[in-house]
Symmetry: C2
Subunit: 468 residues, 2 copies
């Protein structure tokens, strides 16, 4: 999950209730729908395929950053996997993507006459960062926790130093995603703001509330008007240590060596599987996740789970004998993490083709126990309409439905789709793993994953039957 520009978009509560072209739901429908949704969950829990597909993607292909050979393997895997699922059509959608590589492992060190027992400083380059041109950059460190704090420092305090952005997650927030939203500006803008003040690099506290040794990578930006300085994420343990160390020796020097670089763009693909709607084939429902992942770990919860759940949502409908009335597409988007090129391309081609998108659902918050769905829609009536289905999802604890964030890949469809819908699962563990070497297959629970795919299938079933 990229989350870089994540906003909690409230559905336009002040908007007019618009007339809906959607069909009405009767008590008899409710009974039929209950039975059909139960069939979807039975299929998922007894014969679900998400978990084994994810095992392959994570352990046989592994990390798959845009432009990497593994990303290309993942494209072929996605296509071949969907071709076994009996969909009407499986196809690729070409898109040019950035190609950033980490290169050799990063090196960090501390030079200080006052500090003893300096631990290993666990860090990693942020995605998109420049490297250090084959030699370490060594400089003093100045710690800040806010942009204001940086602004108040004199040029002499910043120039020639590393700026260490060390604002932690706000632990009292119930949703870790909200805590991420309150800290990730440091990762996104840190290198720009540091360089504007003459700093030689940016060190950023990892985006997590856990205290451990895993550095969390993730996208950062440059401004073409400002020198590009290297940017790295420190594990929270390393960040806590450095903060203390600076109290003991404010004059310590930090050395950083990184081999990363941005290579020419590469041709890649979104992977799409489609079931043609039996009654209204011109109305399209997308369900997707992103196929690319950061280069650390295996891209399990971010976002292998969303990919396998999306393919599975369509398979579950067919296996349950519920051929959809509207057209449904599973879309494995390429390049969510560092460009959103796949999401942009999908929306662009859909617009050019004059396609009508009813809804787009994205699963990109991890494959944990379902809780419900968050909805972005222009009309509050659209949100209310989906909320009416909550009783059907209540037996599966997937009934928390309300205004919320759709997803980064489906974001470009915002003006073309009636609703963008984010799959919402338990999120407490997600940022322990997010963008780290710990995001591996073994962290995913089979039943949690399959329940999530079933919840998405159930919503697709209802959307395809009733519209919005």
């Amino acid at each position: 999950m990229r989350f870089l520009f994540r906003r909690l978009l409230l559905a336009g509560v002040g908007g007019l209730l618009t007339a809906s072209a959607a069909s009405a739901q009767t008590p008899a429908d409710f009974k039929t729908d209950s039975i059909n949704i139960r069939r979807i969950y039975d299929e998922a829990l007894l014969r679900g395929q998400s978990y084994e597909h994810l095992r392959y993607l994570c352990t046989r292909i592994g990390a798959r950053l845009s432009g990497s050979p593994q990303a290309e393997q993942a494209v072929q895997w996605g296509k071949q996997t969907m071709e076994t699922m009996g969909f009407d059509r499986v196809y690729l959608q070409e898109v040019m993507v950035p190609h950033w590589v980490r290169g050799k492992a990063e090196k960090a060190g501390i030079k200080s006459k006052k500090l003893k027992n300096v631990p290993k400083i666990n860090l990693c380059a942020l995605g998109g960062s420049v490297g250090t041109s084959g030699r370490p950059v060594q400089a003093g460190v100045v710690e800040v926790r806010s942009w204001d704090e940086l602004a108040r420092l004199s040029d002499a305090q910043v120039r020639g130093k590393f700026v260490f952005f060390n604002r932690p997650f706000d632990d009292k927030l119930i949703e870790p995603g909200a805590a991420y939203g309150g800290a990730v500006d440091q990762r996104g803008r840190g290198a720009i703001e540091a360089a504007k003040r003459g700093a030689v690099g940016a060190l950023v506290r990892s985006m997590t509330s856990s205290r451990d040794d895993f550095p969390h990578t993730g996208a950062m930006r440059y401004d073409e008007q400002v020198p590009k300085v290297p940017a790295a994420a420190l594990s929270t343990n390393a960040a806590d240590w450095l903060s203390q160390a600076l109290k003991t020796d404010p004059g310590l020097e930090f050395s950083l060596e990184m081999d990363c670089q941005t290579l020419p763009e590469v041709k890649s693909y979104n992977v799409i599987g489609e079931i043609k709607g039996s009654k209204r084939p011109d109305e399209i429902i997308v369900v997707g996740g992103h196929l690319d992942s950061w280069d650390l770990g295996q891209g399990a919860h971010d976002d292998g789970t969303g990919c396998v759940q999306s393919m599975e949502a369509l398979r579950l409908l067919l296996a349950s004998g519920l051929r959809p009335e509207r057209t449904v597409r599973a879309v494995l988007f390429m390049n969510e993490e560092n460009g959103v090129r796949g999401g942009q391309k999908y929306a662009e081609l859909a617009k050019a083709a004059g396609e009508k998108h009813l809804a787009a659902i994205e699963s990109d918050g991890g494959g944990f126990t379902p809780r419900g769905f968050g909805i972005e829609a222009k009309s509050a009536a659209t949100v209310a309409r989906v909320q009416q289905w909550a009783p059907l999802l209540r037996p599966y604890h997937s009934d928390k439905i309300g205004p919320g964030h759709g997803g980064t890949d489906i974001g470009p469809l915002r003006d073309q789709a009636t609703a963008l819908i984010g799959y919402d699962g338990d999120s407490q563990r997600y940022f322990d793993l997010h963008h780290t070497a710990a995001d591996t297959f073994d962290k995913v629970h089979r039943r949690e994953l399959e329940l999530g795919g079933a919840s998405m299938a159930a919503l697709v079933y209802l959307l395809s039957k009733y519209g919005l």
Copy 2:
């Protein structure tokens, strides 16, 4: 969690709506309560102590079956820990408990001329089982999946054999606890029913839907009218292998050696911390978990988490400046796993003292992300009354409130308390760990645990303010 007699008790929906002595709640109250509950969660998320207490209990004391030296250490730890928390009173409640010991590691083997590559058979004695008197028991195996299937076998098919009870969890059930309820009769009654038919022992499939190498222990029973035969749990992988092996070689022989025995009963204790109610000290609210655990693993989710959350619930109230109006007690019950002696003793002494219990809350389903509460009450109005507080718990995803199971330790209070309330968290991972060597501290997530304790504290706050 013992669960042996677990039933989902529907609150007496047919009962009369009884007049309530409870206070009314105004809109101004709602605002005050929202603020106070937010303070409880802030305290838990910023300065919560559950996780560090659990670390000590699990990693410094470890497994603590009734009668063991570790159970005694846990009693002292519980008392000392609560004595640091500023409660009005901390005391022990004496109770005699069973003392079963596993002894040397169990040994199992397969004798067959047809089978090659026999794997290690992972198994463990069920709690309470007799041993094999210092030598292996070797016999053929007959597999059944139901009592009916056993009944249909001829005496010749059963006599002198091991009966292998291999009915798996029903994976399509959404709640793993329900799947457990549908399988655990095999563990409880297997040895009795096998011995009635002349079998030499019972082999029981482990109580989990996961497929792995961990055998799951747990309580089993004997009937004094029936010979006591040894009973062991096979890991699900071992059970699946054995089932296949019996198809290849129905004549294979299984050998089992177990060193376990039941020793004389031992004096032990419930540990109780109390805050006297400021307005109605005669009305008591209990919040508890069980201090004993099975001898494998560290008793982390079962039920170290319930213990630390219960103590923490009281501490959170004090630390948030919310001294309760009614008396609240944190109770660490002894001997839930193999006797429920602690729970029985607590209820017996409460009755003898003429105490009035308003409610008893138990956390014994693991320390996972909160979902809500399940309520056992004679009156449906009692359930409805608690449900009215759901909007206050909604921001914390702890608002799923309805009829449900209270808890094994608080069960004996059924006739004395207005409501028994079970803390309900996400349950998908619980039976992966339950009663195994894998139930260790590292499986517990800090924020999930602290959120659970806060949810319990919030409910105690409301109960102590408004009554039932």
